[in-house]
Assembly symmetry: D2
């Protein structure tokens, strides 16, 4: 049984609180927020649990094994570092940090102290994404050609990050999980339409090794909510619509076959394969519940989390590169040099 | 009554043939294709109409006032120039030419001879796009923030053009029609997954004046067909789904309002407006029928076509810039210099 | 502030508990269930609230003003009568009772004691149904021609009632709320496919005065969940899809116009009107929250609930008639005699 | 090569004309309509084909092997009988006749003369319905529990038949094709809302042997078009949506399992099985093309058509029974006696 204290009870924190309170292998041992009103409101719902507006008090408690951090991104590094130095295992909401520099330092600190550092890439723990990884790993899609995601809705505008760090981060985490190929370069274009705010719309293209192209369309100004990802392979193709209540993942037995029979000057010698569609049943366990259990298990057994510090780092590197490209109006930013650096750091 | 000869009876040509045969102001006067089998098959369906595999024979006919060209793009320029020099009015399937240079020359030739040069930007004549233009012109959307289009399906792979010239051209023509702002720069990334073929997937971002950002997602390798465009304004927003049989255009009374009331460090001082949705009834007249009538009317009255040579040119310029950006892995390509050139040419 | 005790903490009860605990005008004052495990689990979530497995203990509490009953239908009458006799105001989950006889007796008892008797016809308090009533009352639909509802999904099979009493009851409650016309006769056909269980599929047709026809399709064996109601008027028509997250109510400006111009023997002299579609914004307040507040308000002010005992009775009468018709393989059952009886009883 | 003459060129006739003209085994040999304008318009599109407003002239032609009849229902019997007596094979648009009496007589006449009598139950020849029959025949659905169809749209109002004879006929033909069970009784309720017109809305329930219940919801006054059929079996269930362009037939591996483990008084001992969904690829050949070929094949080989006179009769019998029930406000009408009669007649 792992005792977990949660820092940050804004939008996402209460979900962590609830899951650590209810998951079989964890125990909610502390609640912390800068806002005393939130602290007292959470305290009422979880009587008997330490509730405080002081991070230091919480970290000082010998009763707490691990800390989950669900504060604004800008505070992730400082809080996570503090927690590691207090010898607590740490789970950090996505994105892990605001820079890869910070991510390296957290990874190093956790390694040195033999502590679990995990990042809350929630989608990785959904039944849909786990099923997709399983299909990709089994080779059912063939060679992956593209990953194309639309993730748009009206708001929430965030004050300390732009729409890439808020929404595209999900796709980067999913891609880091399901693909073996390494991202090579990133192009991003974005725009802000509200004075004084950050980009509310952005288009990111990631080129991977092996002719895999990924594209992410994120937008806080869309009249309709969409969460739809196409994944095209040489053998089969997936449509993953996270808003489809009954069939989130559809696998299409469709593709292109190149033939040698020339027909006419108007058509390439290309044929289409079109077969059945198949929507596999998905595990509907709440992602955060699985994630809480996995966190506890990693702490108990010493195994590496699926979404460990290195995953968090790789996603932050993509976010940094996307930001840099966006500052240069879409000029491609290579990811190679970073990779060398990462190799060095992890050596 | 305008007598029209149609060159090219492949995929799109028969639609032109049918509409010129049936539209009240036009008469089908000739059918031409390099492929004798197609010629004879069309001749059977339209007995009494000149049917030939010789372009020169058709252009020599004094009975024919105008020529419609529906051949592969690579032949547009040569055929259109020939037709203009034979003193025929000309309608050319999109895109007008393979280069802006060619487009300038056609415009000049038509101007010199006082002939109508029109490009078949079919979507401009649909009830949906005309309704959208009407809403934009009436200021109902407020300031336009973005245009975001997904236009994907499985094939048709084209042998002489890539997916940008085949599919993105539609969005460029629509944007040229509905927006007053001028495009400033283009970023495009694309990829080909079939050996020896051209790009089958591409992402194009167009930055316009006045903070208008446009994005076009085109793909010949998608397991599902999608034709969906979001247009976001400061007052209202549109979802235009061309595959929705009953409600192609939906207007959402939604938006963002910036307020001065600071709430907390977790939320911007931004509010959301959310009102009714409205799906206006659309004119369901076939776009090509209206276009045929408009072509005849322009010839008869001397008025400038809505989709004139200049429109065709502006679209080809965007296509050229997109291609150039794609060759440089997404480096932004400015459109300004072209614009100056265009002004000079039209002076 | 009205103190409410809730009897029954199975599927629906916890929603009542939560809303009475959180609504501004009510206070959760007691929780009761036959199952001690449920009682203790609820007690943990609501410390400080009386929690018991004894209905008598709860009714004996002078601290409790009103009782909400969310037990199986077969126990509604006995529990509600007990509560009224203990001088508690009563809210009963739908359907009110298992027979109209029982409903009359509850109404009488509440009248005699000047207590509020309300039935939990939840849908009546949703933003969607309230908007529909508003449109109908404003005459926007014109003369109502039909109400056509499909309410199907896989399970829950209920042990003490059939699919009509479980699902069709919702449509009967909605119709009782939005229509002024009186139901005249009912036809129902149903079938059971599980040995020893009650009907899992049924089709009910209700004929109202003034040529209004209603139809309800309920099914516990459907592979997909559907909640979709068409309401056709002479001027406008509504599609109400409760599973549509963004546009639950769509109003179509469509209809039929009879003209005198005879065209041919193949067509009636009937024309179609087809105009815009409009999806009004809906209040998204939780229905049960509004209902809890309305219950408190009726108790405080003495006003008649929108879903009072008489509404509950009228719905039970329709359910009884449907059951009787179903037992006779769909023979029509008149509702008139019941009506006379109802008048007599309420006199 | 079978030479076919088509009588009736209104709404449906031109489709028959086109298919007999283009199908490989048939030749269009004649066009006939009472309306001279239609005759001349069709004559222009099919030069060289006999075109007349005289049925007698057409039947007198020795050049014509078979007659296809696409006139209003009220004239089917007379025209079909005339054609048979002129020794022509006959294909009649659905429904075969206006009474079972007439259908028996046509069957007898065709039998006596050894001619093919076929009814145009078009849906039977679609890829979707053929796939469904294949799944049902293979036992994949298990025991069939229900067939539930919604077939609604705005108009076309027909002058000589009601909405049952216009729309429900399709479902009756589909059920006759895919089910082995015999229909036992029918209940129908309908209503007309236009003065002087026939029923524009109707609900038909058909009870088959073996606990199979079928329901058909037809409506000419619906603001939206729907063509959706649920077929529930004990092992798998189908959703057939004819308006779904890409996945018309979806097979759900869902069902109910009765278990012996009693849980509580609130739940039956019933469990749900929920597995994958599967959308098989469908043959997209035009149904009428297959039907035209099948008609020719039956004439050439003497084989019995899939949709022979007996199918037409069985559908007409259901239509008659539905009409009779509707006249009695939904009183159930048994089909047994008819069946005996049918056996006698075909003996």
């Amino acid at each position: 049984m792992i005792s977990v204290g949660v820092i940050g009870c804004g939008y996402w924190g209460p979900n962590l609180v609830r899951n650590f309170a209810e998951a079989p292998r964890t125990r909610l041992a502390g609640i912390c927020d800068m806002n005393p009103q939130r602290v007292s409101s959470m305290a009422k719902r979880y009587p008997g649990v330490m509730a405080t507006d002081s991070v230091d008090d919480m970290l000082a408690s010998p009763d707490i094994d691990a800390i989950a951090i669900a504060t604004p991104v800008s505070s992730h590094f400082e809080l996570a570092m503090k927690a590691l130095r207090a010898n607590k295992h740490v789970l950090v909401e996505k994105p892990l940090t605001t820079s890869s520099e910070q991510a390296y330092r957290l990874i190093d600190e956790a390694d040195k102290r033999n502590l679990v550092l995990m990042v809350d890439h929630t989608f990785v723990y959904t039944g849909a994404v786990r099923k997709i990884k399983q299909l990709v790993d089994a080779g059912q899609l063939g060679k992956i050609c593209y990953y194309d995601s639309v993730r748009v809705n009206l708001g929430l505008f965030q004050h300390d990050i732009d729409v890439i760090w808020d929404l595209a981060v999900h796709d980067m985490a999913i891609m880091d999980f399901i693909f073996d190929s390494r991202p090579v370069s990133i192009t991003a274009v974005g725009m802000n339409h509200i004075e004084g705010a950050r980009e509310n719309i952005a288009y990111i293209t990631v080129l991977f090794e092996n002719d895999l192209i990924a594209h992410i369309n994120v937008n806080w100004l869309s009249p309709v909510k969409m969460r739809r990802t196409l994944i095209g392979g040489s053998r089969q193709m997936i449509v993953y619509d996270d808003l489809d209540a009954s069939e989130k993942v559809k696998v299409y037995d469709k593709g292109v076959t190149v033939t040698n029979r020339a027909e006419s000057m108007y058509k390439m010698m290309i044929g289409y394969r079109s077969g059945d569609m198949h929507a596999p049943q998905l595990d509907v366990t709440e992602a955060l519940r699985l994630e809480a259990q996995h966190f506890a298990e990693c702490i108990e057994t010493g195994q590496q989390p699926v979404t460990d510090g290195a995953s968090g780092l790789k996603v932050v590197r993509m976010l940094e590169a996307a930001t840099r490209s966006m500052r240069q109006q879409g000029a491609p930013v290579a990811l190679d040099t970073y990779e060398l650096r990462a190799v060095a750091a992890s050596a």
